[in-house]
Symmetry: C2
Subunit: 337 residues, 2 copies
Amino acid sequence: MKKVTINSVASYAGVSKKTVSRVLNNEPNVSDATREKVLKVFKELDYTPNPIARGLAQNRSFIIGCLYDNPSKSYITRVQTGALAACHELNYNLLIHPCELRGEELISNIEHLIQTSRLDGIVLTPPFSDFPELVSFLKSKKIPYARVASAVLEDDSISVRSNDEQGAFEITEHLIKLGHKEIAFIKGHPDHSATEQRFKGYRRALASNGIEFDERLVEEGNFSYHSGVDSARTILDLNPRPTAVFASNDYMAAAVLKLATQMQLRVPDDISIAGFDNAPIARHIWPGLTTIAQPVEEMTQQAVKQLITHISDPQESPYQVTLEAKLITRESTAAIK
Amino acid sequence: MKKVTINSVASYAGVSKKTVSRVLNNEPNVSDATREKVLKVFKELDYTPNPIARGLAQNRSFIIGCLYDNPSKSYITRVQTGALAACHELNYNLLIHPCELRGEELISNIEHLIQTSRLDGIVLTPPFSDFPELVSFLKSKKIPYARVASAVLEDDSISVRSNDEQGAFEITEHLIKLGHKEIAFIKGHPDHSATEQRFKGYRRALASNGIEFDERLVEEGNFSYHSGVDSARTILDLNPRPTAVFASNDYMAAAVLKLATQMQLRVPDDISIAGFDNAPIARHIWPGLTTIAQPVEEMTQQAVKQLITHISDPQESPYQVTLEAKLITRESTAAIK
DNA sequence: CTGAAAGCGCTTACAG
DNA sequence: CTGAAAGCGCTTACAG
């Protein structure tokens, strides 16, 4: 079977390859008759343009890189799902790039990635969305980028986020309305801007309900299950013990639940537990975790879609969107007795 | 800043571009002096060859596709980690392709993928590793492929698996040695060859220990948490109730644990529970799940590495390897009282 | 509205 | 051991 290229199509249709190219790219200046003729030959010969040849001529790869470093596999999968959806829609490919590096090593790693893979653009997910050195490096290299779930908004970039601060506010207020006043809080990883945002929402809810903030109720976690265990140990040993715990993500909340169960505490009767993210584990344990759901796929899809649009037409104006987070109540929180 | 290409390097080094190409590809027939001179210019000019131009000339994309459809995010992430490691090592890129299609739709979807993305090869992960129609389609199209965790071994393909049957045998025997005789079993998804393998191991362990197989103790699951809940409901209502449950993966085992807890059963005092896969959830719940760990990253890495090697040099002989699975005991299983 | 020429950055096949 | 020419399958810039 002979390979079918733009040349076969051109000769078969009896036109020049430039004309075929015009039809391919939906360019104007082709008569309807010619266009249809060519389109028909596409089908007959089952022609698909070679993206590599296209890439060489246009100096682009049709590849978007997706950068992440997240302990939550489900979060990563959701990010990929959204990014992939946008890529498929716009005939791009997605290159995943998990990366644990920081600082200078991170920069040189990304530089190498860009140089070897010739990415057309890069989508930054937490915690990278808010790394100033990385963002300014990409700017200096003129690599288009989009940021997902970033806390910092700049004027000239593509950024799609959801409202972490508001989500944390709502879940804290949910606990307060159930009668809780001593609500412990477990922070996330300091690299993630969400950590600060969620803490702010917690404090704002306390403040707006006239509850004094108590530093002793706050523990430093890092989003991992393991850090949740450590924080839980301290919190559950507190005297008096808080009546509720709000962990900055579901893994840490699950850790609190595990430790509470081991200590013979009944959840939610003896203590209420809330998480954040609506990870699968939130409904895979018993009792199910009250948590906050964010539209991760939607955020990433919008970000990547906008990024590709920007690559194809750099005139596009900046795109900054904030999507809503949603409170999901399950069995792990209840009214105080 | 001017782009640095093979031409800039050639003129800067005072050689022809063919010579530069030879150095680039580590070909013979270049004098050591010339080679070093060129290598030096590479560094000075910070030159990296353009993979797209290379791809066009060689009619290859340097892209491997990774096909999967798995409810377990952690499994997918592990697959990706292994595949990525092999790709990085051999200067390939990885294209992820989650896909829920089956039958004809699957074939045409993959055909489209291959045609538009010009993959050089494809790595099949469960359940696709054992889809005969897909495998023969790839063969007919002469697309190199490798299979991960396949049960069926063919003579002429690349296949890296771990021993599911043996793993299931060992965990069942572990339960038997703890004194259990009535051990319920929850099957996985029928599309996955592991489902049959694990069931076989379970039956072999019963047989080799003189325990009669009881069909009423077997439930059909599909690897999802939800299916585990359904199966658990039936099993835990059995009279007499089995003293142990072996679920074909950890999600379903976690579901059994949840339901048992809701029914006020103590695990492992009242009932032992075992899973398979050593997914994160196995250690994120209390009690932790006794399970079987497979070297998923290692399997995938070997498969992809071998695949790329085969692409570069189709003379390579078939590569079939079986890696060991390992029993991990946690708190969810104990001796019968 | 259409096309001939040149070029993208490499490699292949050949000649010396 | 080295290189000039042609080509991979497209697009760009230009001419008509």
